[in-house]
């Protein structure tokens, strides 16, 4: 693939454009409803469920760091057969990243396993960046702060569900609004004509990420999947006479309408969800069926089908009347307490292939400069292994992809591989984040069009961190 030439063009042109429109939005709007909604932009969050092992993803390429990591987790390297010249974890085979800001890392070099080759290509072409050691924080913290509790810390670190929730909503399980949904709320507030139904779209479960005040997750089917109401579509069900036709029409209306006379709150909600779901799914499916299908073929994996559904939804942005959209997809299986050498490469490969196809679909739609794809995960994992796996951690490294990413760089920090370093917990070597999720997410939000006031409203601890450090988009 030749990303390089195009990337040069993209980087220069879109940055200029984005900068100009941001300026305009400041001039043109007051403080309240200020989100910039010109053009089309979408952010696509991919939640890597289970906690992706960042140490087995962003790999050390220089000999010293490589040896250091191997020393902390000999079992994992052994299960990867890392001494085998064919192994993806053999140092020679690690795909090197051409890090533009390499000078920040004192001669350390970085790479990716071969399962992430498309990400390497994108990184080296400037279409992808890495944000190092990002995770939930309330204020900057190191090991001493963590151990003495002298700074305030996020609640329930190391717990899957709570940290997933914290990544997506800044609070533990039970949160009712995610920052994706709040981004959507902000753009809906600035665009009275936008259809709120399609502002926040999930291709998987309805997790808290997309929940806002007005925004709620709309679930899209996989690309090409036609959803119908079978009781209506299959004529033999109700029969073939005129009376049957009339009954079908009434049944259809009944199933798509919320019944109004419930006082029980659970029943009110159940009725509304059922009716809205059926109505919206059918409307969306009919629209999708009449549109031109994408030429890009997505891998037939769970994530591939999800991103295919996301791409299809973007292709309908005109008819659906949306200018800003937040998408959510997820891939499971990252909780690699054991058999990491079998499980993680397989997940990486699927992630890689789905993102590669997604990029192709965006290029096909002419949207690659208008989307930002970013990964999230429960947490990173312990650098010190437990045999052939790793345990729950805290900070981790993440990808940001898209034509307008200032790629080829590692943002934030990647602490050196040494459990004595003050950003690691003792013994197990869990990373204490150096970049907060709020900083990271606010960067996405700024690109998406939110202004500083809106971002401050969504991210209450933003002011405790250095804002300028993270400018990947």
């Amino acid at each position: 693939m030749t990303y390089y030439n195009r990337r040069q063009f993209i980087t220069r042109s879109t940055l200029g454009f984005a900068g100009a429109t941001m300026g305009l939005s400041f001039l043109g709007h007051g403080a309240a409803q200020a989100a910039n909604i010109s053009g089309y932009k979408a952010i696509v969050g991919i939640m890597l469920k289970g906690g992706m092992d960042h140490s087995d993803t962003l790999l050390p390429k220089d000999q010293d760091s490589y040896d250091a990591l191997k020393g902390f987790r000999p079992g994992i390297f052994a299960s990867h057969n890392s001494d085998d010249p064919q192994s993806s974890r053999h140092r020679e085979n690690i795909l090197e990243l051409n890090v533009e800001n390499a000078s920040q890392f004192n001669g350390r070099r970085f790479g990716l396993p071969r399962e992430l080759s498309a990400v390497q290509d994108m990184f080296n072409a400037g279409d992808a960046a890495i944000v190092g050691n990002v995770g939930p924080l309330l204020e900057p913290a190191n090991r001493d702060d963590f151990e003495t509790g002298r700074v305030s810390l996020p609640k329930r670190i190391f717990s899957h569900n709570d940290q997933q929730s914290t990544w997506m909503s800044l609070s533990t399980e039970g949160a009712r609004k995610g920052w994706g949904g709040q981004f959507a709320d902000a753009v809906l507030a600035s665009d009275a004509t936008a259809n709120p139904l399609y502002a926040a779209i999930t291709a998987t479960t309805s997790d808290v990420f997309l929940a806002g005040d007005r925004a709620r997750a709309f679930r899209v089917p996989r690309a090409g999947q036609r959803l119908t109401l079978d009781a209506d579509r299959i004529r033999s069900h109700l029969g073939r006479g005129d009376d049957s036709d009339e009954a079908r029409t009434k049944l259809n209306a009944y199933l798509r309408k919320q019944s109004a006379d419930h006082t029980n709150l659970f029943r009110k909600d159940a009725s509304g969800m059922s009716a809205r779901g059926i109505d919206n799914q059918i409307s969306y499916s009919e629209r999708a069926a009449s549109a031109t299908p994408l030429g890009t073929i997505f891998p037939n994996t769970n994530l591939g089908r999800q991103l295919g559904g996301v791409a299809q939804a973007m292709s309908l942005r005109g008819p659906l009347n949306v200018k800003r959209q937040v998408f959510y997809a997820a891939q499971g299986g990252y909780d690699t307490h054991d058999s990491q050498a079998q499980n993680l490469p397989e997940r990486h490969q699927k992630l890689n292939d789905a993102m590669l196809a997604f990029r192709a679909a965006m290029v096909e739609l002419g949207l690659w400069n208008d989307v930002l794809v970013f990964t999230m995960s429960d947490f990173g994992r312990s650098m010190v292994g437990n045999g052939d796996g790793s345990d729950h951690g805290w900070g981790g490294h993440h990808f940001v992809l898209g034509g307008s990413v200032r790629g080829g760089q590692i943002y934030g920090d990647v602490p050196e591989i040494d459990t004595g370093h003050p950003q690691y917990t003792r013994r197990r070597g869990r990373l204490i984040p150096t970049t907060s999720v709020e900083q990271h997410a606010a960067t996405l939000g700024r690109w998406f069009g939110l202004d500083d006031g809106e971002l401050a409203g969504i991210f209450p601890n933003l002011s405790r961190f250095d804002r300028s450090a993270l400018d990947f988009a």
Partner: protein
């Protein structure tokens, strides 16, 4: 803090006592049920007024069967009218357990170990087995002590063995379930402590922390200290920290399949359906400190596990933490703190006296007979249905099983039903498949509050809305449509799974009568007036006359049923 000898003796005594009276082979009647509360030969004097647990009407009987089991046929509903709910529970607890593994092995010998075969056997049990309270409890327990066949490739017998532990222990004791689960091959594979080795200082290897973390967070005490009523104590005190996990992780080292050594391939052939074995040479000999207890260094593996499980099970959080989740699985998505406290008190006491005098439990803390009875016979479950905050959003699996059982579907042979192999897809199936959640966090979380909802505004938890929502309603409707709208005369395509609509077809000439009948049977009479009127309207639209009258009656019945099972009254039991 050092481990106290007195505590060891106390808990060891409790453990042996439980072994004697809890669990068992599941086929003998629970001992606590054999002695009436009042004792002796003279029957207790009849109370002046019948207790509130007396099921006076068909509506009350139907409502109770939805809460406690999988709903009922007309005959099952009729049989309950005029009886006390406590007596039904006693009767159910005396039924022998329908276990999956023996059925699988009888059908497949010992070689056909596929996940699909397990799945089919499981559906057969859910859809037809007579011991419905036990099966409902098994399903509930499988959503607390979660494993998922998503993580196994064709370990059907191992999964069946695990499900049978839950069935067998359904009316046993919490502490013994915790132990059986801990020593089960399925859980050890799922949460990766199978062949978990002790740490190694030289290489820096540490024990796998997975089970240590999840057994605390999900199977026993949760993350924050709780009042007995399940609400967090003031100040959000965390129950454990990372040091506790590091200590407890050392406990769950050394377990492997039955065989002569920890790591070699000479496990006995059926190791996956046998209790795990401790290999002390791979068990951590270090001191193990967690939850305020220290197990001295060089304590053997099985003994360490006993101490750890006693410590966990005796934590004061267990009663509210487990009670609240069991309530959610049976009767209330958002149980009131008072309800949780009443059940948690029973959990602590290990005994419960029903309003009609029936005793449940023998006084062992965590006795599940007592806990189940306390949940199902609680006053809030039997009072009027007007309370806007009560009720339970039903899991999709329960809604499907209820429909199937309510019409006594004959010749159910799930081997013909490929749709049941995996019902997880929300677009085309139920969005839920038993023992196959996405992670150890089950299909939904106990504290889930639906965003943008009225229940959410009222701060009511509704775990099931995590899978019963906009994204799943069309798939659910189509799935049920497939099972309801089956033609009567197509035995080649649908050789089994034919619902028996005879009673309904006989009522179908009068739409209002038909809908009234189905309303009681499927929603305990709780359809709203407007919904009832709409259903009557649609049903009346279908004309019954001429040669096809019988077929048209059938379509009326099917249409009415479809409209009811997609109604809010069916989706939420109250």
């Amino acid at each position: 803090m050092r481990y106290q000898l007195k505590f060891v003796l106390g808990t060891l005594f409790a453990a042996s006592f439980l072994a004697a009276c809890g669990g068992g082979d599941g086929s003998s009647p629970p001992s606590s049920l054999s002695t009436p509360a009042t004792g002796g030969d003279t029957p207790p004097p009849a109370p002046a007024t019948k207790p509130y647990t007396n099921l006076e009407t068909r509506e009350e009987a139907a409502r109770f069967l939805m809460q406690a089991g999988f709903g009922g046929t007309d005959a099952q509903i009729d049989a309950l009218v005029g009886t006390d709910a406590a007596d039904w529970i006693v009767n159910e607890m005396r039924k022998p357990a329908t276990l999956t593994l023996p059925q699988m092995q009888a059908r497949y010998g010992t070689s056909q170990d596929t996940d699909q075969n397990h799945s089919r056997m499981m559906w057969q049990t859910l859809l037809t087995a007579d011991d419905q309270l036990r099966q409902r409890m098994t399903f509930a327990l499988s959503q607390i002590f979660v494993i998922s066949t998503n993580s196994f490739s064709d370990r059907g017998f191992m999964t069946a063995h695990y499900a049978d532990i839950l069935s067998d222990q359904a009316f046993g004791n919490y502490r013994s379930i915790l132990e059986e689960v801990t020593y089960s091959p399925a859980m050890s594979r799922y949460l990766t402590y199978y062949r978990n080795r002790k740490g190694d200082e030289r290489s820096g290897r540490m024990p796998d922390e997975n089970y240590a973390r999840e057994v605390l967070q999900l199977f026993s005490i949760g993350l924050t200290e709780l009042e007995l009523d399940g609400t967090p104590k003031a100040g959000e005190l965390e129950t454990y920290d990372n040091e506790d996990i590091i200590g407890l992780a050392r406990v769950f080292t050394g377990l492997s399949g039955e065989g002569s050594s920890f790591k070699s391939r000479d496990h006995v052939e059926d190791w996956s359906i046998q209790r795990l074995k401790m290999f002390d040479e791979e068990h951590s000999e270090l001191e193990k400190t967690f939850l305020g207890v220290t197990i001295p260094e060089n304590t053997k593996g099985d003994e360490s596990i006993q101490i750890a499980l006693d410590t966990i099970a005796n934590h004061p959080n267990v009663a509210p933490f487990i009670s609240r989740q069991l309530i959610q699985r049976f009767t209330a998505s958002s149980p009131s703190p008072d309800y949780v406290r009443r059940v948690a008190e029973v959990f602590e006491a290990g005994r419960y006296r029903a309003p009609n005098g029936q005793d449940f439990g023998v006084g062992d803390r965590g006795n599940l007979q007592a806990v189940i009875a306390a949940i199902l016979l609680d006053e809030s479950v039997h009072d009027d249905i007007q309370n806007t905050n009560e009720g339970k959003v039903r899991e999709p699996v329960l809604k499907f099983v209820h429909y199937t059982r309510a019409f006594g579907a004959k010749d159910i042979d799930v081997w013909e039903e490929w749709r049941l192999n995996n019902t997880s897809d929300p677009n085309e199936r139920l969005g839920q498949h038993p023992l196959r959640s996405a992670s150890v966090f089950n299909f939904y979380r106990p504290g889930f509050i639906a965003p943008g909802s009225e229940t959410g505004e009222a701060q009511l938890s509704a775990p099931e809305f995590q899978i019963v929502n906009e994204g799943a309603s069309l798939g659910f409707t189509n799935f049920l449509t497939h099972y309801i709208m089956r033609p009567a005369d197509d035995p080649d395509r649908y050789p089994g799974f034919q619902p028996d609509f005879t009673t309904e077809i006989n009522l179908a000439d009068d739409a209002a009568t038909l809908v009234d009948h189905l309303n009681v049977k499927l929603t305990a009479g709780q359809l709203s007036e407007a919904t009832k009127a709409e259903i009557v309207d649609v049903v009346s639209t279908l004309i019954v006359d001429g040669d096809d009258a019988e077929e048209e009656r059938r379509k009326r019945v099917q249409t009415a049923i479809l409209m009811i099972v997609t109604s809010a009254a069916y989706a939420v039991q109250n």
